[in-house]
């Protein structure tokens, strides 16, 4: 068990270090074991420095930087292991336009390995989706599914 945990940690850590500068357009990050000599109980620390910044405690990161760091960790895990499908509910709500674009672009590089179901209000995530499902609630509090086309009319309305 210890050996498997360490191997999983090392491969995810390597992928995390590779993907972070892609998602943040620079900067660097890594994962660290809090107690490397006790693999059965050790925790996992995230050290992250957005571009141009010193690495500081995670609590000082901005809302968007926190979301993007978490998404980067998920992408690292998807890259190195088998995750048949992933469900994301408005995970990019706190991101600015540039970061949402990077998010949706990277999603497109992973979808051959993993199927994604993403709930979103953001335009560039909608554009990355190959198919959109609309959910509406008719006046009486009952949900229905409507199929939506990805043409301009929908995106502009949003």
């Amino acid at each position: 068990v210890r050996y498997l945990f360490k191997k999983a940690f090392d491969t995810v850590n390597q992928a995390f270090q590779e993907i972070y500068p892609i998602m943040f357009s620079g900067g660097n990050a890594e994962l660290k074991l809090t107690e490397p000599e006790d693999l059965l109980h050790t925790g996992v620390e995230i050290i992250a420095a957005p571009p141009g910044k010193k690495s500081r405690s995670l609590s000082l990161l901005s809302g968007g930087e926190k979301s993007l760091s978490a998404i980067t960790l998920l992408f690292a895990i998807i890259k190195v292991s088998t995750v048949p499908f992933s469900i994301l509910d408005e995970v990019e709500a706190a991101l600015d336009e540039a970061n949402v674009d990077r998010f949706s672009q990277y999603l497109e590089t992973l979808n051959s390995k993993t199927q994604f179901i993403v709930i979103t209000h953001r335009r560039s995530t909608m554009r990355a989706a190959q198919r959109l499902f609309g959910v509406t609630m008719v006046g009486t509090g009952i949900s229905k599914i409507v199929s939506v086309r990805l043409d301009g009319e929908l995106i502009n309305k949003e």
């Binding site: 068990v1 498997l4 945990f5 191997k7 999983a8 940690f9 995810v12 809090t34 050790t42 925790g43 996992v44 620390e45 990161l61 926190k66 979301s67 760091s69 978490a70 998404i71 960790l73 998920l74 895990i77 190195v80 292991s81 088998t82 995750v83 048949p84 499908f85 992933s86 469900i87 994301l88 509910d89 995970v91 706190a94 999603l107 497109e108 979808n111 199927q115 994604f116 179901i117 993403v118 709930i119 979103t120 209000h121 995530t125 989706a129 190959q130 198919r131 959109l132 499902f133 959910v135 509406t136 609630m137 009486t140 509090g141 009952i142 949900s143 229905k144 599914i145 939506v148 949003e158």
Partner: protein, 165 residues
Amino acid sequence: MFLKTLTLTGFKSFQKKTTIDFDSRINGIIGPNGSGKSNLIEAIQFAMGEQSGKSLRGNTMKDIIFSGSQTEKALNRAKVQLILDNSDRLLKDYGDLVTISRILYRDGTSEYEINGQKVRQKDVQALFFSAGLGRDTLAFITQGKVQKIIDSDPVARRGVFEEVA
């Protein structure tokens, strides 16, 4: 393996039988606030063996059964069915298609089935764990929880790496 079809009846705001075919690699779900988008995700978690009503935003599990609207009466059961495309045989013991369903009754009891055979909650949970989708997976990020992953305590994060192992 991928999620091919989701069918739900009487689950939260989906009173009538509703089916969605997720036939693409990236499927987007959009709609106004309160329309039922997050309820769909919770239906998937419910069918995968979620045992806590609180994780589905209810006080008890029974809160997930359609409880009526201004014009419609409450129902007495909720049913969710998932059809998995297993043609890549990620699930070694099953064929091309795997159907998983769960029914919850007002008295709080649940009935699970895999390919029409009655099974226990543990069997459904084990099936998804063997596919890399156990309870600690990072692959499901519910609304508002993405930043909590960074705020969580280092030891709590271990589970994520144990899933990968």
